[in-house]
């Protein structure tokens, strides 16, 4: 006995069960209601202004493919008046990103949207394959997440965009709420459920129109509308901490699908006690990207890669005994670190010898001691494209602490 579509006035038989509310619907109603839900999210939060140039973070995966398609459809249907551009980042992961970029190229043609691709190699001098070869299969997502976040912002500024949208869905946000709780990152916990972050003027605003859309519904929407996407998991992701949270969310969904939205609702209701010290945002002294430390996370990580100090940016303290013995002098005075005494040569850390790394305790934030072993000149976070002069030196809203297979927000 066929089940009727639950949409009022629809006489078709149901073929799909919506993950979000469990309603049985026909194919046409599924598509229509999915798009209406996204439109409701956009309109109820006044997510966009007419005439905005919006970059769509496109990886070729299901979320960004559905996001790009839905944005195009809704932009035309409801006359948002937006100029949409696809922005893709090539992390340099063979067998993963090179294939998914082909999917993005197809999207560009099918949706008739312009596409810009930026690569880690061009931006940072390192591809993810090279990074993993150097650091091993640990903390990979830290590097990738931090770099991708900044890369998307740089690309968006370069294109003259006033907003960036990403395909983060309800499952992603629920995972992130849980992760921030588990890691004790209350600063991120407070803002991770915001529909749009960075609107306080300190950074490029980034929005999540699929915030309340379930991952299962996104997959079904792509299938029903025959959208082509790339569906292989990142080869460096298996060891990510996020997988624990993801596994929990999946089990939760089987038991009580509504719980995913309830976690988001929990996260939305949270504020931080006034007496809790929160990081103060400034700008990276090297590249001018927004940062709560002297150097942003991306610069720290790159410095670590370039100087073979692989713990830089991934561990909280310098772990060397000599680092504890020597102390950095106050600003302006010569530092006792070896890097300064011998004219700037920093010895290779790979031997594991504690004495090989003579960095002061503050080395995580002050790299005045590091020198000539950098492969590239410091990255400057200043728009070089004359079209983006309005964005010159604009501070971004990221504190650059990655750690997720997806971009951290």
């Amino acid at each position: 006995m066929p089940i009727a579509c639950s949409t009022e006035a629809c006489t078709s038989s149901a073929t799909i069960k919506r993950a979000r509310d469990g309603d049985p619907v026909c194919t046409a109603c599924f598509t229509r209601r999915f798009e209406e839900d996204v439109h409701e999210t956009i309109s109820s939060t006044s997510l966009f202004k007419r005439g905005e140039r919006v970059a769509i973070g496109a990886s070729g995966g299901k979320d960004s493919t559905v996001l790009a398609y839905a944005m195009k459809v809704l932009n035309e249907r409801h006359d948002y008046g937006l100029e949409l551009i696809l922005l893709s980042i090539d992390e340099g992961i063979k067998g993963y990103r090179d294939d998914s970029l082909k999917s993005v190229e197809r999207n560009k043609i099918e949706y008739q949207l312009p596409l810009t691709i930026l690569s880690y190699k061009d931006l940072y001098g390192w591809s993810m394959d090279e990074i993993v070869a150097k650091i091993g299969k640990k903390n990979n997502c830290t590097f990738c997440g931090v770099f991708r976040r900044q890369a998307l912002d740089r690309g968006s500024y370069k294109l003259g965009c006033t907003k960036l949208v990403t395909g983060h869905n309800a499952d992603d946000i629920a995972e992130t709420v849980l992760m921030n709780l588990l890691r004790g990152d209350v600063a991120r916990l407070e803002r991770c459920t915001n529909i749009c972050t960075g609107e306080d003027g300190g950074s490029l605003p980034r929005a999540k129109p699929l915030k309340y859309s379930y991952e299962k519904d996104i997959v079904m929407y792509a299938r029903v509308n025959k959208l082509e996407y790339f569906y292989t998991e990142c080869i460096y992701a298996p060891n990510a901490y996020r997988n624990f949270a993801r596994d929990y969310i999946k089990k939760l969904e089987r038991v009580r699908p509504r719980a995913i939205l309830d976690i988001i609702i929990s996260g939305e209701s949270v504020a931080i006690r006034k007496e809790v010290a929160m990081p103060v945002l400034g700008n990276c002294s090297r590249c001018n990207y927004i940062s709560s430390q002297k150097l942003c996370k991306a610069c720290l990580l790159i410095e670590g890669l370039n100087t073979d100090n692989l713990q830089l940016g991934t561990k909280k303290k310098a772990t060397t005994t000599s680092a504890q013995k020597t102390g950095c002098k106050s600003e302006g005075e010569p530092c006792e670190c070896r890097g300064d005494q011998d004219g700037g040569t920093v010895e290779n850390n790979n031997s594991g010898n504690d004495d090989a790394i003579d960095r002061c305790q503050d080395s995580l934030n002050d790299l005045n001691c590091s020198t000539s072993t950098r492969k590239k000149k410091p990255i400057s976070f200043e728009a070089t494209d004359s079209d983006a002069t309005a964005q010159d030196n604009k501070a971004c809203g990221c504190d650059n602490d990655g750690g997720a297979a997806k971009i951290d927000f």
Binding site: L182, G184, V186, D262, I263, S266, S269, V270
Partner: protein, 367 residues
């Protein structure tokens, strides 16, 4: 079993006690952090228990000393009861100055199982009634939480309060459409029973037998139920709600520490009541959350519990300050959640939506 065999992981490290020079043979969740000899371990756990209350000055500044211990037969409840009994015997200046009453609770509706538990409770009651201890106690089924004003007198022949409410309690649980909802209702009934019993006996403070590990699992399940902002108060050491102070003196003590102390002090034999609590149902958020935390601990993330509790302590409700409170659980509820029956918070409203007998739900809980 020799003490050295109680915690093989700690003993195998071959380190000295962090407080003295004796061999370290016992530890908390992470043996790499600290190992203790037997007497120092016992002192450490007891100190954590007492300092949780002492730091917050719960019994200072002229506050009432009357306290209700909710005893559910769990290891945590056994430890708390052991501490209360010990305090009655202590003569030195560190005596825990409390006037306790114990409420032994029943969850099961199976008569045979209830019979076994009641027998065990009778043994415990006999110990509490010994000269020199003299701690008053009552036995109640959590169904008694349905009574707005708990009738403390029990008909002759009845062993516990609340027998008349069991039928409605069972009907209400059967009307809930998911095991999560049933599990959450059971938890709420336990709280209502404690609060209403305390009110009926004029007691202001209630000790809940929840360890740090239990509370960290509660954090995850409360977030998954949409409680979010209220979680902070629901797992704190001291919380005022439903007209009473809920206290959680084992907030900083883990399950392993409880188990070890109970074994060392004999609380397990004297007070633990196996099979007393209903097991978490298989397809419920509560069990999924509990398994998740246990899995993280096994995977080596031993700071999970402490980090969760610390994070939650830093958060508050970000919405507009509530003027009214949920009719069922007493948590703050904002105006927009008002429904036709009663003002309910979001999670309790969701529970009501899952009940197929809304009239019964409203009569039993919202009126």
């Amino acid at each position: 079993m020799p003490t050295t065999d109680l915690d093989p992981g700690a003993a195998a490290l071959g380190r000295k006690c962090v407080k003295c020079e004796s061999p370290g043979i016992l530890s908390g969740i992470d043996a790499k952090k600290a190992v203790y000899c037997r007497p120092c371990f016992v002192q450490m756990v007891k100190h954590k228990f007492r300092s949780a209350l002492g730091k917050r000055r719960v019994y200072k500044d002229g506050a009432s000393k009357e306290t209700l211990l909710v005893f559910d037969g769990s290891p945590a409840a056994a430890l708390a009861l052991g501490q209360l009994v010990e305090s009655k015997r202590e003569t030195d200046h560190r005596k825990l100055m409390i006037e306790p009453t114990v409420l032994l609770t029943l969850e099961t509706t199976d008569p045979e199982r209830a019979g076994r538990i009641l027998q065990r409770y009778a043994e415990i009651g006999a110990k509490l009634a010994e000269p020199g201890i003299g701690i008053p106690f009552r036995i109640a089924h959590i169904a008694a939480g349905l009574q707005k004003n708990i009738e403390l007198r029990v008909d002759s022949g009845e062993q516990y309060i609340g027998k008349e409410q069991i039928a409605i309690y069972e009907r209400l649980l059967s009307a809930m459409q998911s095991t999560t909802a049933r599990s959450e209702m059971t938890r709420l009934f336990g709280e209502l029973l404690a609060a209403r019993f305390a009110a009926a006996t004029g007691i202001d403070k209630i000790w809940l037998p929840r360890t740090g590990d239990d509370l960290s699992k509660d954090v995850v399940s409360f977030f998954s139920l949409g409680k979010g902002a209220h979680t902070s108060s629901l797992i704190s050491v001291s919380e005022r709600r439903l007209g009473v102070n809920f206290l959680r003196p084992m907030h900083d003590i883990g399950d392993k520490e409880v188990a070890l102390l109970n074994r060392l002090e004999g609380y397990d034999e004297r007070y633990e009541t196996p099979d007393c609590r209903e097991p978490l149902p298989p397809a419920s958020i509560h069990l999924v959350a509990a398994n998740f935390i246990d899995m993280l601990q096994r995977e080596g993330y031993t700071a999970t519990t402490s980090t969760l509790l610390a994070s939650t302590a830093k958060i508050v409700d970000g919405s507009a300050k509530a003027q009214e409170y949920c009719r069922i659980c007493g948590s703050p509820a904002t105006q927009k959640e008002k429904n036709s029956a009663a003002l309910l918070c979001y999670p309790c409203r969701r529970l009501r939506e899952e009940c197929s007998e809304k009239t019964l739900f409203d009569q039993a809980l919202c009126s």
